[in-house]
Symmetry: C2
């Protein structure tokens, strides 16, 4: 119970003046180390009931730390752009790079609390989904080296009233009491219960809550400072308890069942036939994408496959049927230093389309379990947990009415070789020739094994893979368009 | 006149097959050089009347170039986030880094054309301001090494009708004709006149228009490809004709008149008095920032001054009076590689506040004419033209109801030395000590001269400087708050 946290502990001036310099000294050291090592980032979320001293504490912390490397964010009601993305999108955008500290006023708990305090009749299922989302996000952050420090500042109802009254009485301080504060103070009981419930259901070992008594100004500041210190030093918020996913044996047996055919059954398609069927499918996609209902959805299409598998060609057949204002093609290559310093999925969150739009990824987050795995660019524990993280990420998307269509363009080694040779011969295709492609070709078996694991472990019902036999370019393109049309149509009906 | 551009030139299949490989070969070479040298970026804006072949041409270009380094953007009606920023903000965001190509479907001309075609009664002054804005932007881009290629595709009314009819007749291609196309086709005369006017008023030597006949599919593609080639190779869109600004003599005499007093007249402020006056001013700012009318404005505050001049302290006194959701403090340091590769002001555009919000810059775009000038980090022509560019940038802001408040915190060398020594003595201020600060101190005279020039040349009526004597910290903070309150109040009344 929250009121049990109200110890009423007070510090004498002497105690405070003794303890503060020591703490500040340690904080500055820790922050310096954090910046130097760049092994970790810190996200501190501060919730609190009005007049418990949240803003004052943040100001004090900024006075103790080097404020150039601390960023404070508060959030209003989601705006139009934010509403068109999954609920946690706006928080992803402000995640700090390694070496830095971000302080969130309320952070992702504000939406949750506002909903429980103000909207009494919220369906339990919606609340549960939100808790799941929050827990998933925090687990992922912690696993990615972001310490998540959750602090709640609390005071009792009498003290709250007293503080608000005192501020209101004086003409020069009256502005400090907002209408929102007064509303919350009038509903103290309901607010306290909402906080209690919220803290209880979002408690987890990798990101525990710290309830701090806001009664004494100096005591509370030092307490928050101490939590921050532990977080910067990596002593809390690092116990990454990831769900294990399927056992290795189970995963192997799943992967063994994945087939990657490179040749489609049935007869070839003559050029004239191809042109007609392509036009038909493009028309179908165009009309689907203009349907009124489509304005409530969006599409994330993912293309993976060996070099020269025909990803680019298939993508251009899709975009040719869309309005230029309606799509964006995002080619994915090695991450920039800015991106490397953040959680793995961060750079992909940025690219999510608004409603009624397409984002088409030419390679994607699956690089983690393909190229990064095969070439040892990601550590084994990192790419292994990526399967689960990716499934959760895509679940977040589909829950938000994003259609996720994933294509594995499956080409045979012989066909790839023929295409490489054609590229070498044709000077106008020289931009497609990369010495690395030949190197990747040598790892064919490892790539195929990685692709099988990937498809086995991320072929979810909400975001299934389509394996497209790609030795015949024309039929592969028609197949991609057909699958995409089917997926969009199913979502609209 | 646009119809004069309709040469009706057609290519035989033989001609096309002869010319295309040569052009494509040159384009690939040029693109490769562009990427290797990273000295230039290319922005191609493609306008055109419906059925002139705009989308087809873009698809053809993407087939000829290495599409991984070309990004295509189309724009819808501005969304909520975009409407809260100056009109050109959303285009700034997609500017390519050096070495890359961006193709804009319509780009900043779409808004202009839509307004002239659809809204007949637009005030002439609004249209003129928009033309000014566009011309300023293009000049700035060209001066910053971005080739701006403006291409308009045109066809006559009969051909347009014929093409739209043919597409509509066939069941499989009917989807290609949108309601928007049909509207534009019905108003051919009005649309053509709007284009003619637009091209005429936005013609400028550094970014000329190219009108291309869209009659023959192959001819138009080659023509657009040739303009692009010239742009990539730096043969057009490089004649940077910047307005000269005041003559050096005039600038010198203006700068000589700038005073940078470090001590305020009048008596010192006692601690108790200070607390009371601070609380009063903070309350005044808080209440101003909560006024309903403030939701239609935003504030950009800029703090410049020598090290230890008290910028951070003054900023914290401002933020203490604002809602945490209402402001963002942006400390500016050396640009990242991503930022260096783009026009100088690019990284600052990103940080503009939404309506009702503050962005406070701890150092700013004035770094160009201060640190970058003094330490030779920017070439002389670059920092010299920055004065004009900055004035135009700030004009853009103020025209969009952004209050721009600029503070030069003026500290004396003796007071700075005392503060440095205090920092050295106090381990808890060690994060404020930087060997570079001592180096900068040696360049005191150069910095003061640069500050005088800066204030003389950017002290505009829309965004005036406040020079704040800062040897007395308390009074400096009160003065900053007072000026800021006055500026906000004046804007609201």
């Amino acid at each position: 119970m929250l009121h049990e946290a109200l110890s009423g502990r007070r510090l004498t001036k002497l105690e405070y003046e003794h303890e503060l310099p020591q703490l500040q000294d340690k904080l500055l050291d820790a922050q310096f180390e954090l910046r130097k090592e760049r092994a970790r980032a810190v996200v501190m979320i501060l919730t609190g009931i009005p007049a418990a001293g949240r803003s004052e504490v943040v100001n004090e912390l900024l006075g103790w730390l080097d404020p150039k490397f601390v960023t404070v964010y508060g959030f209003r009601e989601p705006n139009e752009v934010e509403r068109q993305r999954p609920p946690l999108w706006r928080y992803w955008r402000v995640m700090p790079p390694k070496g830095r500290i971000v302080i969130l006023h309320g952070g992702w708990y504000d939406d949750f609390l506002t909903a429980s305090v103000r909207k009494r009749g919220r369906p339990a299922a919606a609340a549960r989904r939100e808790v799941d989302r929050i827990q998933r996000l925090e687990r992922m952050l912690v696993a990615d080296g972001v310490a998540v420090l959750k602090i709640h500042l609390h005071i009792g109802p009498e003290l709250q009233q007293r503080r608000l009254r005192r501020l209101s009485k004086d003409k020069t301080t009256r502005w400090r009491v907002t209408a929102e504060d007064q509303w919350y103070a009038r509903h103290y009981g309901r607010v306290e219960r909402a906080f209690e419930h919220c803290l209880e259901v979002t408690q987890q070992p990798c990101a525990p809550w710290h309830v701090i008594d806001g009664t004494d100004r100096q005591h509370r500041a030092l307490e928050v400072g101490r939590v921050l210190l532990e977080g910067i030093e990596g002593r809390i918020g690092t116990a990454a308890a990831r769900p294990a996913g399927p056992s290795p044996a189970k995963a192997r047996s799943l992967a063994a069942r994945v087939r990657l055919p490179t040749v489609m059954r049935g007869p070839a398609v003559a050029e004239e036939d191809y042109d007609r069927r392509l036009e038909e499918l493009q028309g179908r996609l165009a009309l689907l994408s203009r349907r009124r209902k489509f304005a409530g959805h969006s599409v994330v299409a993912v293309f993976e496959g060996m070099d020269a598998a025909g990803k680019g060609g298939a993508i251009r057949r899709i975009t040719a049927s869309l309005d230029a204002r309606q799509y964006r093609v995002v080619p994915i290559s090695a991450p920039t230093p800015e991106e490397i310093a953040r959680p793995y999925l961060w750079r992909f969150w940025f690219q999510l389309p608004p409603r009624g739009n397409y984002t088409i990824f030419d390679r994607s987050w699956y690089g983690r379990v393909l190229v990064e795995r095969v070439h040892g660019l990601a550590a084994k524990p990192d790419w292994r947990r990526a399967y689960g993280e990716i499934n959760e990420f895509e679940l977040e998307l589909t829950e938000h009415r994003v259609i996720v269509a994933k294509f594995w363009m499956s080409v045979s080694p012989a066909e790839q070789l023929a295409r490489f040779r054609e590229r070498d011969r044709n000077p106008l295709k020289r931009f497609k020739v990369d010495p690395e492609d030949w190197r990747n070709r040598k790892e064919w078996k490892e790539y195929q094994a990685a692709a099988r694991d990937m498809i086995a472990l991320t072929n979810t019902s909400h975001a299934p893979w389509a394996v497209v036999p790609a030795d015949d370019k024309r039929r592969a393109r028609l197949e991609v368009l057909r699958v995409l049309c089917d997926r969009v149509e199913a979502a609209l009906d």
